[in-house]
Protein backbone atom coordinates (compact mmCIF):
# COMPACT_ATOMS: atom_id res chain seq x y z
CA UNK A 1 0.00 0.00 0.00
CA UNK A 2 2.83 2.42 0.82
CA UNK A 3 5.15 2.32 -2.19
CA UNK A 4 7.75 4.67 -3.62
CA UNK A 5 7.43 7.00 -6.57
CA UNK A 6 11.13 6.82 -7.39
CA UNK A 7 12.50 3.98 -5.24
CA UNK A 8 16.10 4.23 -6.37
CA UNK A 9 16.33 7.96 -5.73
CA UNK A 10 14.30 7.98 -2.51
CA UNK A 11 16.44 5.22 -0.94
CA UNK A 12 19.82 6.38 -2.29
CA UNK A 13 22.72 5.84 0.11
CA UNK A 14 24.01 8.77 2.15
CA UNK A 15 27.30 8.73 0.20
CA UNK A 16 25.59 8.85 -3.16
CA UNK A 17 23.25 11.62 -2.03
CA UNK A 18 26.23 13.59 -0.76
CA UNK A 19 28.03 13.23 -4.08
CA UNK A 20 24.91 14.17 -6.04
CA UNK A 21 24.34 17.27 -3.91
CA UNK A 22 27.97 18.30 -4.20
CA UNK A 23 27.89 18.16 -7.99
CA UNK A 24 24.60 20.01 -8.14
CA UNK A 25 25.67 22.68 -5.65
CA UNK A 26 28.83 23.44 -7.64
CA UNK A 27 26.83 23.66 -10.85
CA UNK A 28 24.16 25.87 -9.25
CA UNK A 29 26.70 28.29 -7.77
CA UNK A 30 28.41 28.61 -11.13
CA UNK A 31 25.03 29.11 -12.83
CA UNK A 32 23.81 31.94 -10.58
CA UNK A 33 27.24 33.61 -10.78
CA UNK A 34 27.09 33.58 -14.57
CA UNK A 35 23.44 34.64 -14.85
CA UNK A 36 22.72 37.06 -11.99
CA UNK A 37 24.29 40.40 -11.22
CA UNK A 38 22.64 40.19 -7.79
CA UNK A 39 24.54 37.02 -6.85
CA UNK A 40 27.80 38.23 -8.43
CA UNK A 41 27.61 41.31 -6.21
CA UNK A 42 26.70 39.26 -3.13
CA UNK A 43 29.51 36.78 -3.71
CA UNK A 44 31.98 39.64 -4.18
CA UNK A 45 30.86 41.23 -0.89
CA UNK A 46 31.39 37.88 0.85
CA UNK A 47 34.74 37.39 -0.91
CA UNK A 48 33.74 34.10 -2.48
CA UNK A 49 33.86 32.83 -6.05
CA UNK A 50 32.34 29.73 -7.62
CA UNK A 51 35.80 28.10 -7.66
CA UNK A 52 35.92 28.26 -3.84
CA UNK A 53 33.04 25.80 -3.58
CA UNK A 54 34.86 22.49 -3.85
CA UNK A 55 32.88 20.35 -1.40
CA UNK A 56 29.35 20.32 0.00
CA UNK A 57 30.68 21.63 3.29
CA UNK A 58 31.92 24.76 1.50
CA UNK A 59 28.29 25.89 1.30
CA UNK A 60 28.89 27.78 4.55
CA UNK A 61 31.19 30.15 2.64
CA UNK A 62 28.22 31.39 0.63
CA UNK A 63 26.21 34.42 1.73
CA UNK A 64 22.59 34.09 2.85
CA UNK A 65 19.66 35.34 0.79
CA UNK A 66 16.61 36.76 2.57
CA UNK A 67 13.01 37.67 1.84
CA UNK A 68 14.01 41.33 1.84
CA UNK A 69 16.27 40.63 -1.16
CA UNK A 70 13.25 39.43 -3.12
CA UNK A 71 11.33 42.56 -2.16
CA UNK A 72 14.23 44.89 -2.91
CA UNK A 73 14.55 43.31 -6.35
CA UNK A 74 10.81 43.26 -7.03
CA UNK A 75 9.49 42.00 -9.32
CA UNK A 76 12.00 39.83 -11.19
CA UNK A 77 15.47 41.03 -10.19
CA UNK A 78 16.49 37.60 -8.89
CA UNK A 79 15.53 35.73 -12.05
CA UNK A 80 18.45 33.98 -13.75
CA UNK A 81 16.84 33.11 -17.08
CA UNK A 82 15.18 35.22 -19.78
CA UNK A 83 11.41 35.72 -19.50
CA UNK A 84 10.64 33.64 -22.57
CA UNK A 85 11.72 30.55 -20.63
CA UNK A 86 9.40 31.40 -17.74
CA UNK A 87 6.07 29.58 -18.05
CA UNK A 88 4.38 30.73 -14.85
CA UNK A 89 4.44 33.33 -12.09
CA UNK A 90 3.25 32.90 -8.55
CA UNK A 91 3.00 35.87 -6.24
CA UNK A 92 3.14 35.47 -2.47
CA UNK A 93 0.24 36.65 -0.36
CA UNK A 94 2.46 39.24 1.27
CA UNK A 95 1.21 38.40 4.77
CA UNK A 96 4.41 39.79 6.23
CA UNK A 97 5.10 42.64 3.85
CA UNK A 98 5.19 43.49 0.14
CA UNK A 99 4.40 40.59 -2.20
CA UNK A 100 7.20 38.60 -3.79
CA UNK A 101 7.22 37.14 -7.28
CA UNK A 102 8.52 33.68 -8.18
CA UNK A 103 8.96 32.48 -11.77
CA UNK A 104 9.14 28.91 -13.03
CA UNK A 105 10.48 27.25 -16.17
CA UNK A 106 8.71 24.20 -17.54
CA UNK A 107 11.41 22.09 -15.90
CA UNK A 108 10.93 23.86 -12.54
CA UNK A 109 7.24 22.93 -12.60
CA UNK A 110 8.15 19.34 -13.50
CA UNK A 111 10.56 19.09 -10.57
CA UNK A 112 7.96 20.59 -8.23
CA UNK A 113 5.33 18.10 -9.40
CA UNK A 114 7.83 15.24 -8.98
CA UNK A 115 8.60 16.34 -5.45
CA UNK A 116 4.89 16.16 -4.58
CA UNK A 117 4.40 12.92 -6.50
CA UNK A 118 6.99 11.30 -4.23
CA UNK A 119 5.35 12.86 -1.18
CA UNK A 120 1.78 11.84 -2.07
CA UNK A 121 2.94 8.29 -2.86
CA UNK A 122 4.66 8.12 0.53
CA UNK A 123 1.30 8.59 2.28
CA UNK A 124 -0.32 5.85 0.26
CA UNK A 125 -2.05 7.91 -2.43
CA UNK A 126 -2.09 6.81 -6.06
CA UNK A 127 -4.08 6.64 -9.28
CA UNK A 128 -7.17 5.23 -7.55
CA UNK A 129 -7.50 8.23 -5.29
CA UNK A 130 -9.73 11.27 -5.56
CA UNK A 131 -7.91 14.29 -4.17
CA UNK A 132 -9.93 17.34 -3.23
CA UNK A 133 -7.66 20.37 -3.38
CA UNK A 134 -8.99 22.90 -0.90
CA UNK A 135 -6.06 25.28 -1.13
CA UNK A 136 -6.53 28.53 -2.97
CA UNK A 137 -5.94 28.42 -6.72
CA UNK A 138 -4.36 31.40 -8.37
CA UNK A 139 -1.38 33.44 -7.28
CA UNK A 140 -1.01 31.32 -4.12
CA UNK A 141 1.08 28.22 -4.81
CA UNK A 142 -1.03 25.81 -2.73
CA UNK A 143 -3.84 25.04 -5.16
CA UNK A 144 -1.94 24.63 -8.43
CA UNK A 145 1.03 23.00 -6.68
CA UNK A 146 -1.06 20.21 -5.19
CA UNK A 147 -3.06 19.97 -8.38
CA UNK A 148 -0.01 19.21 -10.53
CA UNK A 149 1.42 16.80 -7.96
CA UNK A 150 -1.86 14.91 -7.72
CA UNK A 151 -2.20 14.69 -11.50
CA UNK A 152 1.39 13.47 -11.71
CA UNK A 153 0.49 10.34 -9.71
CA UNK A 154 -2.61 9.86 -11.85
CA UNK A 155 -5.07 10.67 -9.09
CA UNK A 156 -8.39 12.34 -9.87
CA UNK A 157 -8.33 15.97 -8.80
CA UNK A 158 -11.29 18.02 -7.59
CA UNK A 159 -10.00 21.60 -7.93
CA UNK A 160 -12.26 23.00 -5.20
CA UNK A 161 -10.11 25.86 -3.98
CA UNK A 162 -11.08 27.34 -0.60
CA UNK A 163 -14.47 28.27 0.75
CA UNK A 164 -18.01 27.17 0.06
CA UNK A 165 -17.79 24.62 2.84
CA UNK A 166 -21.19 22.98 2.30
CA UNK A 167 -20.29 22.42 -1.35
CA UNK A 168 -16.94 20.95 -0.28
CA UNK A 169 -18.83 18.39 1.80
CA UNK A 170 -21.40 17.71 -0.88
CA UNK A 171 -18.78 16.98 -3.56
CA UNK A 172 -16.68 15.05 -1.05
CA UNK A 173 -19.65 12.70 -0.71
CA UNK A 174 -20.85 12.69 -4.31
CA UNK A 175 -17.45 12.28 -6.00
CA UNK A 176 -15.97 10.07 -3.30
CA UNK A 177 -12.95 12.15 -2.26
CA UNK A 178 -10.39 9.93 -0.54
CA UNK A 179 -8.04 12.78 0.33
CA UNK A 180 -8.31 16.49 1.01
CA UNK A 181 -5.59 19.13 1.04
CA UNK A 182 -6.26 22.36 2.92
CA UNK A 183 -5.15 24.29 5.99
CA UNK A 184 -5.69 22.43 9.27
CA UNK A 185 -7.78 25.27 10.66
CA UNK A 186 -10.04 25.15 7.61
CA UNK A 187 -10.48 21.41 8.02
CA UNK A 188 -11.55 21.96 11.64
CA UNK A 189 -14.16 24.33 10.24
CA UNK A 190 -15.24 21.73 7.67
CA UNK A 191 -15.69 19.28 10.56
CA UNK A 192 -17.92 21.76 12.40
CA UNK A 193 -20.04 22.38 9.33
CA UNK A 194 -20.30 18.63 8.65
CA UNK A 195 -21.61 18.11 12.16
CA UNK A 196 -24.22 20.83 11.70
CA UNK A 197 -25.29 19.25 8.39
CA UNK A 198 -25.55 15.86 10.08
CA UNK A 199 -22.65 14.41 8.07
CA UNK A 200 -20.32 12.00 9.82
CA UNK A 201 -17.08 12.32 7.82
CA UNK A 202 -15.84 8.97 9.13
CA UNK A 203 -18.97 7.09 8.02
CA UNK A 204 -20.66 9.14 5.32
CA UNK A 205 -17.62 9.87 3.14
CA UNK A 206 -14.70 7.87 1.77
CA UNK A 207 -12.15 10.36 3.04
CA UNK A 208 -9.07 8.63 4.50
CA UNK A 209 -6.26 11.16 4.22
CA UNK A 210 -5.84 14.86 4.99
CA UNK A 211 -2.82 16.83 3.76
CA UNK A 212 -2.57 19.85 5.99
CA UNK A 213 -0.19 22.79 5.93
CA UNK A 214 0.39 26.44 5.01
CA UNK A 215 0.27 27.28 8.72
CA UNK A 216 1.94 25.78 11.78
CA UNK A 217 -0.16 23.20 13.60
CA UNK A 218 0.33 20.85 16.52
CA UNK A 219 0.19 17.13 17.24
CA UNK A 220 -2.85 17.88 19.40
CA UNK A 221 -4.67 19.25 16.34
CA UNK A 222 -3.61 16.15 14.45
CA UNK A 223 -5.14 14.01 17.23
CA UNK A 224 -8.37 15.97 17.20
CA UNK A 225 -8.71 15.75 13.42
CA UNK A 226 -7.81 12.05 13.21
CA UNK A 227 -10.20 11.09 16.01
CA UNK A 228 -12.99 13.43 14.88
CA UNK A 229 -12.99 12.65 11.17
CA UNK A 230 -11.56 9.13 11.16
CA UNK A 231 -8.75 10.02 8.75
CA UNK A 232 -4.95 10.12 8.79
CA UNK A 233 -3.65 13.70 8.93
CA UNK A 234 -0.30 14.46 7.31
CA UNK A 235 1.84 17.55 7.51
CA UNK A 236 2.88 19.23 4.23
CA UNK A 237 5.58 21.84 3.87
CA UNK A 238 6.80 24.33 1.36
CA UNK A 239 6.68 28.03 0.66
CA UNK A 240 6.37 30.01 -2.54
CA UNK A 241 10.03 31.11 -2.63
CA UNK A 242 11.25 27.53 -3.04
CA UNK A 243 8.29 26.62 -5.34
CA UNK A 244 5.27 26.01 -3.12
CA UNK A 245 4.09 22.95 -1.21
CA UNK A 246 6.84 20.40 -1.85
CA UNK A 247 7.30 17.93 0.98
CA UNK A 248 5.15 15.85 3.31
CA UNK A 249 5.59 13.36 6.07
CA UNK A 250 5.53 9.75 4.94
CA UNK A 251 3.07 7.26 6.44
CA UNK A 252 5.35 6.97 9.51
CA UNK A 253 4.30 10.53 10.51
CA UNK A 254 7.74 11.18 11.90
CA UNK A 255 9.13 14.21 10.13
CA UNK A 256 8.83 15.74 6.67
CA UNK A 257 11.13 14.30 3.98
CA UNK A 258 13.03 17.05 2.18
CA UNK A 259 14.37 15.74 -1.13
CA UNK A 260 18.13 16.20 -1.24
CA UNK A 261 18.42 15.99 -5.00
CA UNK A 262 16.21 19.09 -5.27
CA UNK A 263 17.32 21.13 -2.27
CA UNK A 264 20.26 21.46 0.07
CA UNK A 265 18.71 21.92 3.50
CA UNK A 266 20.47 23.50 6.46
CA UNK A 267 19.35 24.45 9.95
CA UNK A 268 21.21 27.43 11.38
CA UNK A 269 21.31 29.37 14.60
CA UNK A 270 19.37 32.50 13.60
CA UNK A 271 21.66 34.67 15.72
CA UNK A 272 25.10 33.44 14.62
CA UNK A 273 24.27 31.97 11.20
CA UNK A 274 26.23 28.83 12.12
CA UNK A 275 24.85 25.39 11.24
CA UNK A 276 23.42 23.49 14.22
CA UNK A 277 23.59 19.77 14.96
CA UNK A 278 20.90 17.27 13.99
CA UNK A 279 18.03 17.52 16.47
CA UNK A 280 18.78 21.10 17.45
CA UNK A 281 16.24 23.77 16.77
CA UNK A 282 17.05 26.59 14.39
CA UNK A 283 16.10 28.43 11.24
CA UNK A 284 15.56 26.55 7.98
CA UNK A 285 17.81 27.47 5.07
CA UNK A 286 17.32 26.11 1.55
CA UNK A 287 19.57 26.17 -1.49
CA UNK A 288 17.79 25.13 -4.67
CA UNK A 289 19.65 22.41 -6.60
CA UNK A 290 17.24 21.92 -9.50
CA UNK A 291 15.27 25.12 -9.99
CA UNK A 292 16.45 27.48 -12.67
CA UNK A 293 14.20 30.47 -13.39
CA UNK A 294 14.72 31.80 -9.88
CA UNK A 295 17.30 29.76 -7.99
CA UNK A 296 18.01 30.66 -4.38
CA UNK A 297 21.31 30.37 -2.58
CA UNK A 298 21.11 29.77 1.19
CA UNK A 299 17.65 31.28 1.44
CA UNK A 300 16.62 31.98 5.04
CA UNK A 301 13.02 30.96 4.98
CA UNK A 302 12.18 32.13 8.48
CA UNK A 303 10.68 28.84 9.70
CA UNK A 304 11.92 27.28 12.92
CA UNK A 305 12.43 23.52 13.11
CA UNK A 306 15.05 20.82 13.59
CA UNK A 307 16.37 18.17 11.19
CA UNK A 308 17.51 14.56 11.25
CA UNK A 309 19.62 12.66 8.73
CA UNK A 310 18.71 9.22 10.14
CA UNK A 311 17.19 6.87 7.58
CA UNK A 312 13.43 6.79 8.16
CA UNK A 313 11.52 3.60 9.02
CA UNK A 314 9.92 3.87 5.58
CA UNK A 315 13.36 3.33 4.02
CA UNK A 316 13.80 6.82 2.63
CA UNK A 317 17.27 8.22 3.16
CA UNK A 318 16.55 11.90 2.53
CA UNK A 319 16.69 14.06 5.66
CA UNK A 320 13.57 14.94 7.60
CA UNK A 321 12.60 18.23 9.15
CA UNK A 322 10.44 18.03 12.26
CA UNK A 323 7.07 19.69 12.85
CA UNK A 324 7.47 23.41 12.39
CA UNK A 325 7.65 25.35 15.61
CA UNK A 326 6.51 28.53 13.90
CA UNK A 327 8.08 31.23 11.83
CA UNK A 328 10.71 33.64 12.97
CA UNK A 329 8.22 36.27 11.85
CA UNK A 330 5.09 34.85 13.57
CA UNK A 331 7.03 34.34 16.69
CA UNK A 332 5.94 37.06 19.06
CA UNK A 333 8.16 38.40 21.76
CA UNK A 334 6.19 39.10 24.91
CA UNK A 335 8.10 40.55 27.84
CA UNK A 336 11.28 39.34 26.21
CA UNK A 337 10.04 35.75 25.91
CA UNK A 338 9.62 34.03 22.53
CA UNK A 339 6.06 32.81 22.04
CA UNK A 340 4.87 30.70 19.13
CA UNK A 341 1.12 30.46 18.50
CA UNK A 342 1.59 26.69 18.06
CA UNK A 343 2.60 26.43 21.73
CA UNK A 344 -0.61 28.14 22.80
CA UNK A 345 -2.58 25.86 20.52
CA UNK A 346 -1.07 22.70 21.98
CA UNK A 347 -2.20 23.75 25.47
CA UNK A 348 -5.73 24.70 24.44
CA UNK A 349 -6.28 21.47 22.56
CA UNK A 350 -5.58 19.47 25.69
CA UNK A 351 -8.62 21.09 27.32
CA UNK A 352 -12.03 19.80 26.22
CA UNK A 353 -13.80 22.72 27.94
CA UNK A 354 -12.60 25.04 25.17
CA UNK A 355 -12.74 24.81 21.38
CA UNK A 356 -9.83 24.59 18.91
CA UNK A 357 -10.13 28.15 17.58
CA UNK A 358 -8.21 30.89 19.35
CA UNK A 359 -6.72 34.35 19.08
CA UNK A 360 -3.70 35.83 20.78
CA UNK A 361 -3.89 39.53 21.57
CA UNK A 362 -0.79 41.40 22.55
CA UNK A 363 -1.06 44.91 23.89
CA UNK A 364 0.89 47.19 26.13
CA UNK A 365 -0.19 48.46 29.52
CA UNK A 366 2.26 51.26 30.26
CA UNK A 367 5.69 49.72 29.83
CA UNK A 368 4.39 46.16 30.25
CA UNK A 369 3.34 43.71 27.51
CA UNK A 370 -0.01 42.10 28.17
CA UNK A 371 -0.94 38.88 26.42
CA UNK A 372 -4.55 37.80 26.21
CA UNK A 373 -5.66 34.46 24.84
CA UNK A 374 -9.20 34.47 23.56
CA UNK A 375 -10.83 31.06 23.30
CA UNK A 376 -14.33 29.68 22.81
CA UNK A 377 -16.09 27.97 25.69
CA UNK A 378 -17.75 24.70 24.67
CA UNK A 379 -21.14 23.64 26.00
CA UNK A 380 -19.51 20.76 27.88
CA UNK A 381 -17.18 23.25 29.54
CA UNK A 382 -19.99 25.57 30.62
CA UNK A 383 -21.02 25.69 34.25
CA UNK A 384 -23.55 28.25 35.36
CA UNK A 385 -21.51 28.89 38.49
CA UNK A 386 -19.22 31.88 37.90
CA UNK A 387 -16.64 30.33 40.22
CA UNK A 388 -16.28 27.29 37.96
CA UNK A 389 -15.69 29.51 34.91
CA UNK A 390 -13.13 31.58 36.81
CA UNK A 391 -11.40 28.36 37.84
CA UNK A 392 -11.36 27.21 34.21
CA UNK A 393 -9.70 30.47 33.12
CA UNK A 394 -7.18 30.07 35.89
CA UNK A 395 -6.45 26.48 34.91
CA UNK A 396 -5.83 27.45 31.25
CA UNK A 397 -3.62 30.32 32.37
CA UNK A 398 -1.62 28.00 34.61
CA UNK A 399 -1.14 25.42 31.84
CA UNK A 400 0.00 28.18 29.48
CA UNK A 401 2.43 29.48 32.06
CA UNK A 402 3.89 25.98 32.30
CA UNK A 403 4.64 25.95 28.57
CA UNK A 404 5.36 29.63 27.83
CA UNK A 405 6.68 30.82 31.17
CA UNK A 406 4.49 33.86 30.86
CA UNK A 407 1.18 34.83 32.46
CA UNK A 408 -1.63 35.28 29.95
CA UNK A 409 -5.06 36.67 30.60
CA UNK A 410 -7.74 34.24 29.42
CA UNK A 411 -10.86 35.55 27.77
CA UNK A 412 -13.66 33.02 27.36
CA UNK A 413 -15.93 33.84 24.44
CA UNK A 414 -19.07 32.37 22.91
CA UNK A 415 -18.72 29.56 20.35
CA UNK A 416 -18.51 30.68 16.75
CA UNK A 417 -17.29 34.19 17.57
CA UNK A 418 -13.60 33.74 16.72
CA UNK A 419 -13.04 34.23 12.97
CA UNK A 420 -12.64 31.05 10.89
CA UNK A 421 -10.14 31.18 8.04
CA UNK A 422 -10.25 29.42 4.72
CA UNK A 423 -6.63 30.21 3.96
CA UNK A 424 -3.94 31.00 6.48
CA UNK A 425 -5.37 31.65 9.93
CA UNK A 426 -4.52 34.98 11.50
CA UNK A 427 -4.05 34.07 15.13
CA UNK A 428 -2.12 37.01 16.49
CA UNK A 429 -3.35 40.55 16.92
CA UNK A 430 -0.47 42.70 18.06
CA UNK A 431 -1.58 46.23 18.91
CA UNK A 432 1.62 47.29 20.64
CA UNK A 433 2.93 50.62 19.46
CA UNK A 434 6.66 50.24 19.08
Amino acid sequence: MFGYWDPQLERMSAEDLHALQEDRLKAMVRFVYDHSSFYRKRFAEAGVEPGDIKTLEDVTKLPFTRKVDLRDNYPTGLFCLPKNLVVRYHVSSGTTGKPTVVGYTKGDIEAWSDSLARALTSIGLGSNDVIQVGYGYGLFTGGLGLHYGAERIGATVIPMSTGNTERQLELMQDLGSTAIACTPSYFLHIMEVAEKMGINIGKDTQLKVGIFGAEPWSDETRGRIEAGAGIKAYDIYGTSEISGPLFTECHCQNGIHVWSDLFLTEIIDPKTGEQVEDGERGELVFTTLNKWAMPLIRYRIGDITSMTHEVCECGRSHPRIMRLQGRTDDMIIVRGINVFPSQVESVLLRMPAVGPHYQILVDRDGPLDVMTVRVELTESGFSDKIGDLMALSKRISKELKGVLNIVAKIELVEPGTIPRYEGKAKRVIDTRKV
Binding site: D384, K385, I386, L389, E411, E414, G416, T417
Partner: protein
Protein backbone atom coordinates in the same frame (compact mmCIF):
# COMPACT_ATOMS: atom_id res chain seq x y z
CA UNK B 1 -40.83 15.38 42.67
CA UNK B 2 -39.61 16.97 39.48
CA UNK B 3 -37.57 20.06 40.01
CA UNK B 4 -37.84 23.44 38.36
CA UNK B 5 -35.49 23.75 35.38
CA UNK B 6 -33.53 26.95 35.19
CA UNK B 7 -31.87 27.89 31.91
CA UNK B 8 -28.33 29.26 32.17
CA UNK B 9 -26.47 30.97 29.36
CA UNK B 10 -22.89 31.97 28.81
CA UNK B 11 -22.76 35.41 27.20
CA UNK B 12 -19.97 37.81 26.42
CA UNK B 13 -20.19 41.17 28.10
CA UNK B 14 -20.93 43.11 24.89
CA UNK B 15 -23.69 45.45 23.74
CA UNK B 16 -26.58 43.64 22.10
CA UNK B 17 -26.00 40.16 23.53
CA UNK B 18 -28.83 40.43 26.03
CA UNK B 19 -31.12 41.71 23.28
CA UNK B 20 -30.26 38.69 21.13
CA UNK B 21 -31.25 36.35 23.97
CA UNK B 22 -34.50 38.21 24.59
CA UNK B 23 -35.35 38.29 20.87
CA UNK B 24 -34.67 34.58 20.44
CA UNK B 25 -37.06 33.75 23.29
CA UNK B 26 -39.64 36.29 22.19
CA UNK B 27 -39.66 34.97 18.61
CA UNK B 28 -40.54 31.51 19.85
CA UNK B 29 -43.12 32.70 22.36
CA UNK B 30 -41.19 31.73 25.47
CA UNK B 31 -42.05 33.89 28.49
CA UNK B 32 -39.50 34.76 31.14
CA UNK B 33 -40.71 34.37 34.72
CA UNK B 34 -37.60 35.46 36.55
CA UNK B 35 -34.05 36.22 35.62
CA UNK B 36 -30.72 37.44 36.86
CA UNK B 37 -27.36 38.26 35.33
CA UNK B 38 -24.13 37.52 37.10
CA UNK B 39 -21.28 39.40 35.52
CA UNK B 40 -17.63 38.50 35.75
CA UNK B 41 -15.63 40.97 33.69
CA UNK B 42 -15.53 39.90 30.04
CA UNK B 43 -18.45 37.55 30.32
CA UNK B 44 -21.60 36.95 32.28
CA UNK B 45 -24.01 34.16 33.08
CA UNK B 46 -27.70 34.76 32.54
CA UNK B 47 -29.98 32.56 34.62
CA UNK B 48 -33.69 32.44 34.12
CA UNK B 49 -36.86 30.57 34.83
CA UNK B 50 -39.21 30.51 31.86
CA UNK B 51 -42.68 29.13 31.22
CA UNK B 52 -41.40 26.47 28.82
CA UNK B 53 -37.84 25.41 29.72
CA UNK B 54 -37.34 22.65 27.13
CA UNK B 55 -38.41 24.90 24.29
CA UNK B 56 -36.38 27.82 25.65
CA UNK B 57 -33.30 25.62 25.95
CA UNK B 58 -33.72 24.27 22.42
CA UNK B 59 -34.19 27.62 20.65
CA UNK B 60 -31.24 29.18 22.46
CA UNK B 61 -29.03 26.17 21.77
CA UNK B 62 -30.03 26.18 18.10
CA UNK B 63 -29.20 29.89 17.88
CA UNK B 64 -25.65 29.04 18.88
CA UNK B 65 -25.71 30.03 22.54
CA UNK B 66 -23.82 28.07 25.15
CA UNK B 67 -26.66 26.99 27.37
CA UNK B 68 -27.34 24.53 30.17
CA UNK B 69 -30.24 23.47 32.39
CA UNK B 70 -29.99 23.40 36.15
CA UNK B 71 -32.37 22.17 38.83
CA UNK B 72 -33.37 24.93 41.23
CA UNK B 73 -35.82 25.35 44.09
CA UNK B 74 -38.53 28.05 44.13
CA UNK B 75 -39.71 28.82 47.62
CA UNK B 76 -42.31 31.24 48.82
CA UNK B 77 -40.97 33.92 51.07
CA UNK B 78 -43.10 35.99 53.43
CA UNK B 79 -42.89 39.61 52.30
CA UNK B 80 -41.98 40.84 55.79
CA UNK B 81 -38.73 41.56 57.65
CA UNK B 82 -37.12 38.21 58.47
CA UNK B 83 -38.74 36.40 55.52
CA UNK B 84 -35.42 35.63 53.88
CA UNK B 85 -33.74 34.87 57.20
CA UNK B 86 -36.12 32.05 58.00
CA UNK B 87 -35.28 30.24 54.78
CA UNK B 88 -31.53 30.70 54.55
CA UNK B 89 -31.07 30.04 58.27
CA UNK B 90 -32.90 26.73 57.94
CA UNK B 91 -30.53 25.76 55.14
CA UNK B 92 -27.46 27.07 56.95
CA UNK B 93 -28.01 25.21 60.22
CA UNK B 94 -28.56 22.03 58.24
CA UNK B 95 -25.26 22.39 56.39
CA UNK B 96 -26.74 23.15 52.97
CA UNK B 97 -24.84 25.68 50.89
CA UNK B 98 -26.56 28.21 48.66
CA UNK B 99 -24.62 28.58 45.40
CA UNK B 100 -26.73 31.55 44.33
CA UNK B 101 -30.24 32.93 44.73
CA UNK B 102 -32.49 35.57 43.24
CA UNK B 103 -35.97 36.75 44.12
CA UNK B 104 -39.01 38.13 42.35
CA UNK B 105 -42.50 39.25 43.25
CA UNK B 106 -45.47 38.20 41.17
CA UNK B 107 -48.38 40.46 40.39
CA UNK B 108 -50.98 38.43 42.23
CA UNK B 109 -48.88 37.05 45.05
CA UNK B 110 -48.61 38.64 48.43
CA UNK B 111 -45.46 36.67 48.83
CA UNK B 112 -42.11 36.98 47.15
CA UNK B 113 -40.61 34.02 45.32
CA UNK B 114 -37.01 33.03 45.94
CA UNK B 115 -35.10 30.93 43.37
CA UNK B 116 -32.27 28.99 44.98
CA UNK B 117 -29.49 26.82 43.67
CA UNK B 118 -28.19 24.68 46.52
CA UNK B 119 -25.68 21.88 46.75
CA UNK B 120 -28.24 19.35 48.00
CA UNK B 121 -31.66 20.05 46.57
CA UNK B 122 -33.46 17.04 48.12
CA UNK B 123 -32.24 17.84 51.64
CA UNK B 124 -33.13 21.51 51.20
CA UNK B 125 -36.65 20.55 50.17
CA UNK B 126 -37.00 18.29 53.24
CA UNK B 127 -35.71 20.77 55.82
CA UNK B 128 -37.68 23.71 54.41
CA UNK B 129 -40.80 21.54 54.25
CA UNK B 130 -40.38 20.62 57.94
CA UNK B 131 -40.27 24.35 58.75
CA UNK B 132 -43.52 24.87 56.89
CA UNK B 133 -41.94 26.88 54.06
CA UNK B 134 -44.01 26.51 50.91
CA UNK B 135 -42.09 25.27 47.90
CA UNK B 136 -43.58 26.10 44.54
CA UNK B 137 -44.30 23.26 42.14
CA UNK B 138 -43.36 23.19 38.48
CA UNK B 139 -46.90 23.99 37.42
CA UNK B 140 -47.20 26.91 39.79
CA UNK B 141 -44.06 28.55 38.48
CA UNK B 142 -44.65 27.88 34.81
CA UNK B 143 -48.24 29.13 35.00
CA UNK B 144 -47.77 32.27 37.04
Amino acid sequence: MSEIKQISLFVENKPGRMAKVAKTLSDSGVNIRAMTIAEAGDFGVIRMVVDSPEKGYQVLHDSGFTVSMTDVLAVEMKDIPGGLYEIVNTLGVNGINVDYAYAFVTAKAERAMLILRVDDIAAARRFLGEKGVKIASLEEIYSI
